[in-house]
Symmetry: C2
Subunit: 298 residues, 2 copies
């Protein structure tokens, strides 16, 4: 069975445009000169009838409205039967609040990510009579939707911003930030919207995949500092950059992967502009830049 993927949202937290941001990209998006992009999420199916959503973005209602494949099929019946979380960041979990409304589905996440959710009573809006919270162990495959198994594995990252203490480990490996290995009988793909660094074990894991959707948050590490938007580098936020000797383009040079697709781009990322040199460089390096509504069959 082939694997179908639909990019529901290609942007990182805040989206493009971000509500309070007057950077070039956000202004261009408001003016309709570049395509607006919603926050990071992907829909996955094997049979084309039953769908999983990986990460519930704050924009999920808008995303679902725009995506015919996941429109309801009856009075209160959604083809979405499971939701999987890769971390506890707001851009990946706030959409759970929209998925109330007495609809049955399974919420898959690691124990630590479930703990973050459970610590907030507002998520009790997901009535346990309808929503089963399944704890997933790292490196244990489970059925995500018919014909598709998922396996979670740790990638370097950090705890969500709203849980940061005085000291922050930005390359923590454990249950807080995970990648997803998606497999059907004929294909193998990875979804990794956040990754702080490329380690040898991750390289080895990705080798031979039909597709990798990978963290494309920033073009360069000091991009937000340069744009006078923040004092934070990509490294501080737990994201490796696209460019540079430690960037993801360089890291993937010796990994054999069918399709390489950047997801989770921050609104400042110059690859959002069609005409810029950065987008051309990603293409020359064999990368696809995801955009809302893009469909990929594997």
């Amino acid at each position: 069975m082939r694997l179908r993927a639909i990019i529901l949202g290609a942007a990182a937290g805040g989206g493009l445009p971000q509500w309070n941001c007057g950077c070039d990209n956000c202004n261009l998006a408001r003016a309709g000169k570049i395509l607006p992009q919603t926050q990071s999420s992907i829909a996955i199916s094997g049979d084309g009838k039953t769908w999983a959503i990986i990460n519930a973005s704050p924009d999920i209602r808008e995303q679902m409205r725009a995506t015919q494949q996941i429109h309801p099929t009856d009075l209160r019946k959604s083809p979405v039967t499971s939701v999987l979380l890769t971390n506890g960041d707001i851009d990946h979990v706030a959409g759970l609040l929209t998925l109330r409304e007495q609809q049955a589905f399974t919420l898959f996440a690691t124990g630590e990510i479930h703990d973050v959710i459970s610590a907030n009573a507002i998520f009790d809006a997901l009535n346990p009579r309808f929503v089963a919270r399944e704890t997933v162990l790292l490196d244990h495959p489970f059925m995500l939707v018919p014909g598709v198994t998922a396996t979670l594995f740790s990638v370097p990252g950090k705890v969500p911003l709203y849980l940061e203490g005085a000291h922050v480990d930005t390359e923590l490996e454990g249950e807080q930030t995970v990648g997803v290995h998606l497999q059907s009988d004929v294909t193998s793909a990875y979804y990794i919207p956040g990754c702080a660094a490329m380690r040898p074990d991750l390289k080895a894991r990705l080798h031979g995949a039909n597709a990798v959707f990978f963290d494309g948050t920033l073009w360069q590490d000091d991009e937000m500092v340069q744009a006078r938007l923040s004092q934070k580098t990509g490294a501080r936020m737990g994201h490796m950059s696209m460019s540079g000797p430690n960037g993801s383009m360089a890291a993937f040079e010796d990994i054999d992967v069918g399709k390489k697709i950047y997801v989770h781009m921050n609104n400042t990322n110059p690859v959002f502009r069609d005409t810029g040199p950065e987008r051309k460089i990603t293409k020359q390096n064999g990368w696809i830049i995801a955009q809302d509504g893009m469909e990929i069959e594997l």
Copy 2:
């Protein structure tokens, strides 16, 4: 100074269409045959430069993108300087998670509503270095934005669904559900998106207002039951209906109000359909049906 109001979202929780709903209205909205509507929120200004948002809906990013008046005016500078909550329902508070991003504003709410927010660590995303949480006492006016004061008062309602216990008082009066009296030197308006019943004291209060924005959740009390969508009546959800002897149209017959505007309509409400008799009846009774993007100057 005149009061400017922009309907950011005219629909109740779930919006139109709601993600998992296949009712007639939701299907018509997906097919582009009636206008989609986002979840309940209004922007208020006196000077037209500084804006308050009453209730932060889950759709706030989409709403702000669509509303030029509240686009950022600089790199990271929003004309929105305050946010006011009228209850703790998800359709009124989830959008706070979008208003992170190190932007200064004041969050106004009663003590009980602030307690609901504070009990959820995820709202720590609103960094206290930027977002001041101001507790407002009932019946004490405060400056919402320059030229506009707001006064909160209790209206019959209930606690948010996710906090409901075994016994639910659906006509509770206190700090959990409030109406807002908006005043400038030349005008007086009320915003009441949720109200379980019309009481004599509320009638007296509204008398003589230039405008009242009022709870239009359901057309009739058993509307969702009839549509086989839910077993809940409007009364059980803490909302009086538009029609019928105990409905809001009847209740307002002897209240002298300049403009009467229905807000917070549930996706099942037949008034969303331009051609139906229900919409005509509301018009004959002197009511305006709010819709996204509608501007009103008072």
